[in-house]
Amino acid sequence: MTRRKLAVTLLGCAAFGLIGCGEIDQKAKVEKVYAGKKDTRAAEDPRFGGDRKKWEATLAERSKGQNEYLRTEIK
């Protein structure tokens, strides 16, 4: 009987100890929402006329221009 009580007590302690292994969710509950003014999108500039693909192509071309291997090596 005493053994049984001891086993139950130990199991109870172990189960209680496991609570410490839990992890409390620390993620912020409140979603951050931008409260300021609306911005105009870059592609809406008159020179691109809202054509995002054209704007992206222009920027990609310019980005590739940073690779001097493309400019200096004989193809």
């Binding site: 912020a28 951050k32 929402v33 931008y34 409260a35 300021g36 003014k37 609306k38 911005d39 105009t40 999108r41 870059a42 592609a43 809406e44 500039d45 020179r47 691109f48 704007w55 992206e56 222009t58 920027l59 990609a60 310019r62 980005s63 590739k64 940073q66 690779n67 001097e68 291997y69």
Partner: protein
């Protein structure tokens, strides 16, 4: 399009300050505010390296998370911008930023802080594109003109690369492989292993 990013190649940077100067000139940034600056390690010693640092336009930006007035927003291209009309100059973003990007102009006597100013990736801010208000508050909007940030375009050694993350990553990768390194430059071992372990060819 992926996210807009900066990469600074420490092997190429010669600490000329061309990027910082280009930024200052392009946006007429006030005295005491440095949207971009140079960091040098091992100055004057063998192994000296320099790195151009500004706002890195983080994917999960800590400045956005801590702002009490929610004045930060992210454009479709991943550029982190803020509304100066809403900013209260509290400085929380400065403490949160691991790069020291937010800058505060002195707005009066006794060290009074003005509204936060930082690199905009030359994408202006929440004002009409190319308007006087946009230029005064945020600087020139080169992105809407189809151009890259002035700092990267000015860089004489092309140490500082800016643009679509995928494009500049491929430029940088090609460059490092040409220097005589291969695939070991990517992954866990390069990021976390010690130099001697890498040299002896120990893989993760």
């Amino acid at each position: 399009m992926a996210r807009m990013k900066f990469i600074c190649d420490a092997e190429r940077c010669i600490e000329c300050n061309g990027c910082a100067t280009a930024c200052k000139n392009e946006h007429e940034v006030p005295w005491g505010v440095n949207r971009r600056r140079l960091i040098t390690v091992n100055d004057g010693k063998p192994g000296e390296r320099s790195m151009s640092v500004a706002c890195m336009h983080c994917s999960d930006a800590p400045c956005m998370a801590v702002c009490p007035v929610d004045c930060f927003y992210k454009t479709e291209e991943g550029v982190v911008l803020h509304d100066k009309d809403l900013c209260i100059g509290c400085g929380y973003c400065f403490y949160a930023c691991p790069f020291g990007a937010p800058q505060f102009p002195q707005a009066g006597a006794f060290g009074l802080r003005g509204k936060m100013d930082k690199c905009t990736f030359c994408a202006g801010g929440p004002e009409e594109n190319h308007s006087k208000a946009e230029f005064t508050k945020y600087g020139r909007n080169r992105i809407a003109e189809g151009k890259l940030p002035a700092c990267a375009e000015m860089c004489s050694t092309k140490a500082l690369l800016a643009g679509d993350g995928a494009v500049i990553e491929s430029i940088y990768k090609t460059r490092v492989q040409r220097r005589g390194k291969g695939d070991e430059i990517w992954g866990w071992a390069m990021a976390y292993k010690r130099g001697d372990a890498l040299a002896s060819g120990v893989k993760s």
